[in-house]
């Protein structure tokens, strides 16, 4: 999109502070046993969006936009007071339209029904007629303040790290973002000095970006900052890249990634001098403390994600770093390469560290939840669906009690959202 990020609604209205994110969950926190479940729910819902998006044949970028819409909607609403599955469907539907690849409303209803009717989601009644989704769409667009232009880290990644003239389909997607509309220089000063990443490293960075949507990062930081944090993580996590950095580096390599030195360009015959990571970082002229914070948050996300199992029969995987060292290119499922990869990576990273042995245990949906070896419940979609159901019941019970007290924070919550949007 040929727009200026700094003049956009994304930057002006939809980058919020952590307190606002906290406030947005205030009501939900009243109805949940463990506040951490709310963060796990965010992972769960983002996975749902990814799955539904994949079924609808949406590109990764559209899925990302849908996820951002979802997070924005829940800055103003609570999980316990809405039907997140209907919201998910609406987010996918609106995102597809907003990103110029519309799908038919009937398809969305059909696919959402078939997906969420799976037992683990515990959705008994996903509405079958289009009008419910259309109505939800209306509320969604209203709460999104009609701000439908979303910026993503993907473009920054491609601008900074894509090999020139590379004909990968990553590039094709980048092209669809309107990169040809010479504005790359706007963020990057001279625009010179790309950091060329190896194909596999670039792909890993792409997948990490996909993963960031499982957290609230897209509400807290500008996309280009997330992209830079992801590039840094990739330099560390991608084994061949890290090895080439280390091999060229005299011992004290125990420093943080941004200060590592590399002479990767020695092995590359580039037409123009390719920058090493350090001068690359220096040339970016961005707040490196913030980049480090974002990196921390991504790592925290993966740690949390380790507790989450998408399937009961999921094979335990190695640790995050080992896992990433294997060529990620091979981890593809069905459907389009990227959307499939997005899901497969999310799986490969959802490592069950607590109980490597109990993968394959059949889930007990009717009875109590499965307990891992560490005494904590095993987090699965079925478990989280139950958490959600409980939250809604608690909310209803609270309302029945004449719980005007809990209706209040909601209203204030909304006001804050409005005030922020207006500001």
């Amino acid at each position: 999109m040929a727009t200026d990020f700094w003049a956009s609604s994304h930057y002006k209205r939809w980058i919020v502070d952590r307190a606002a994110v906290q406030r947005a969950r205030a009501e939900d926190r009243q109805f949940v046993d463990d506040p951490e479940y709310l963060d796990l729910l965010a992972i769960f819902f983002a996975n749902c969006i990814s799955k539904l998006g994949k079924k609808l044949g949406l590109r990764q970028r559209v899925i990302a936009t849908a996820t951002v819409f979802f997070h924005r909607f829940y800055l103003k609403n609570s999980y316990s007071e809405t039907d997140p599955f209907l919201v998910i469907a609406a987010c996918c539907y609106v995102a597809a339209k907003a990103e110029e690849s519309p799908v038919h409303i009937k398809n969305v209803v059909t696919e959402a029904r078939s997906l969420f009717s799976q037992e683990m989601y515990g959705v008994k009644t996903f509405p079958s007629d289009n009008s419910k989704l259309a109505e939800m769409e209306f509320y969604l667009v209203d709460d999104l303040e009609c701000d439908l232009t979303v910026f993503h880290p993907y473009r920054t990644l491609m601008t900074l790290c894509c090999k020139e003239g590379s004909s990968s389909d990553l590039d094709a997607e980048a092209g669809e973002l309107g990169v040809g509309i010479n504005e790359g220089h706007r963020y990057w000063g001279t625009g010179e000095g790309k950091l060329e990443l190896q194909e596999a490293a670039l792909q890993m960075a792409w997948f990490i970006i996909n993963d960031t949507y499982r957290s609230q990062l897209c509400l807290l930081y500008p996309p280009h900052m997330i992209a830079i944090a992801v590039i840094n993580l990739t330099l560390v996590l991608h084994n061949p890249t890290r090895a080439s950095i280390q091999s060229s580096n005299p011992p004290p390599a125990s420093q943080a990634a941004p200060t590592r030195r590399s002479s990767r360009q020695a092995s590359h015959h580039a037409k123009k001098p390719v920058q090493d990571p350090v001068s690359f970082q220096a040339s970016l002229n961005v707040n490196m403390t913030q980049v480090a914070t974002i990196m921390q948050e991504i790592i925290a996300l993966y740690t949390l994600w380790d507790r989450y199992k998408e399937d009961s029969n999921e094979q335990p995987k190695g640790s995050l770093i080992q896992n990433y060292s294997s060529p990620v290119t091979n981890s593809s499922g069905s459907g389009t390469k990227r959307s499939a990869a997005g899901v497969s990576v999310s799986r490969s990273t959802s490592v069950n560290t607590s109980s490597g042995s109990n993968g394959g245990t059949p889930m007990d949906l009717a009875g109590d939840v499965e307990i891992g070896e560490d005494g904590k419940p095993v987090i699965t979609p079925a478990f989280l669906s139950k958490v959600l159901l409980k939250m809604r019941e608690a909310k209803l019970a609270d309302l029945a009690k004449g719980g005007g007290g809990t209706a209040r924070p909601m209203a204030i919550n909304k006001m804050i959202g409005r005030a922020q949007a207006a500001g």
Partner: protein, 355 residues
């Protein structure tokens, strides 16, 4: 005259407290236009007293919910900011409808050209032409094709400022790659020959043809090519510019419908002879460059702004600030209604005389 902004469709959204206050913010004064995808009203902000244009997005007959075209228009307008592009102040949801809130423009070009109370000087006309091209240059720089440049979408205010409006058909295009789009865009009279000949691969140059039509219309006061269908539209163009030849337009024979609508006889180019009584030599040059058959040779908006018509030949452009003395507001809608009133009067008069 004034009606409260209250649509009969009261939907469940009404119980949301925040939608009340915003609905009362604007009071509708009257309808001023019919956009591509919904009615346009003049309304007044009850707090500031400022006028705005409200464009209601038709939702009721949309089975697919929020129209994708409206979404496109919103996204486009939110990303545009230029003195010659109409400004979208905000979006408003009220009584189950979505409204786009625009800065109010007193007139549109069609309305202003049909009125006879105020006449533009040549310097005014040059200014209008320049402002239109500046708006287009900005859009094209931003990667947007308007695809519906015509008199009623060119808006004017009493300060003499011109702004492009109605982005209902506009879309982003890619500078590097030519993509396939629909060729059913641009109102017939302003549609370039390549679209009339069926091409679906095009770029911003389609807007430049329309701009050429507008430039001529500024001087002649009425649309120059008035066809009834694609074929008669081509004929109207050929009558002025002659039939296209492979010398003037190398790609013409490759146009999808070229064989289907091949002209029966060869017509010569009469453009200069026909228009020299209205346009100065430099104006004729520019109009000719805008209305070039071969899209690849058609002048771009940025190039057009550098033309001798603006840079060398007098008079220098002057904003038509005299519009503020003009009584009433002139939009195509009123002009159309006026025509219908006249027609009706004539008809009834005719009936009387028959009796």
């Amino acid at each position: 005259m004034q009606s409260r902004l209250a649509t009969p469709v009261a939907q469940s959204s009404d119980n949301r407290p925040d939608s009340f206050s915003r609905a009362d913010l604007y009071v509708i004064v009257n309808q001023v236009g019919e956009g591509t995808f919904g009615k346009v009203y003049k309304a007044r902000n009850t707090v500031t007293g400022m006028n705005v244009a409200l464009k209601r997005i038709r939702m009721e007959q949309e089975r697919d919910g929020f129209p994708v075209t409206a979404m496109r228009e919103i996204k486009l307008l939110q990303s545009l900011r230029h003195q010659n592009v109409v400004k979208l102040y905000e979006m408003m949801v009220s009584h189950g409808s979505v409204y786009m809130v625009f800065e109010y423009m007193d007139h549109d070009l069609t309305g202003v050209l049909t009125q006879t109370h105020f006449s533009f000087t040549d310097a005014n006309l040059k200014s209008l032409c320049q402002q239109m091209l500046a708006g287009l240059a900005y859009l094209h720089h931003k990667g947007v094709i308007h695809r519906d440049i015509k008199g009623s979408n060119i808006l004017l205010n009493n300060r003499g400022e011109l702004k492009l409006g109605d982005f209902g058909l506009a879309r982003f295009y890619q500078k590097r790659r030519r993509s396939d789009y629909t060729n059913r865009v641009i109102t017939l009279w302003y549609r370039p020959p390549e679209l009339l000949l069926g091409t679906t691969v095009y770029g911003p140059e389609v807007d430049m043809w329309s701009a050429g039509c507008i430039m001529l219309e500024l001087y002649t006061k009425k649309p120059v090519f008035q066809g009834n269908d694609d074929i008669s539209q081509l004929d109207a163009i050929y009558k002025v510019f002659g039939t296209p030849t492979p010398e003037r337009w190398p790609g013409v024979a490759d146009m999808p419908w070229y064989e289907l609508v091949k002209p029966k006889e060869i017509i010569d180019d009469h453009f200069r002879a026909l228009f020299k009584k209205w346009l100065s030599p430099a104006a004729l040059d520019l109009a000719e460059q805008l209305l070039t058959y071969d899209p690849s040779k058609r002048v771009t908006a940025t190039q057009a702004l550098e033309a001798p018509y603006f840079m060398q030949e007098g008079p220098a452009p002057v904003l038509p600030i005299g519009l503020s003395t003009l009584e009433g507001e002139w939009h195509e809608l009123e002009a159309k209604r006026e025509r219908e009133r006249v027609k009706k009067r004539r008809k009834t008069e005719g009936e009387f005389s028959q009796q």
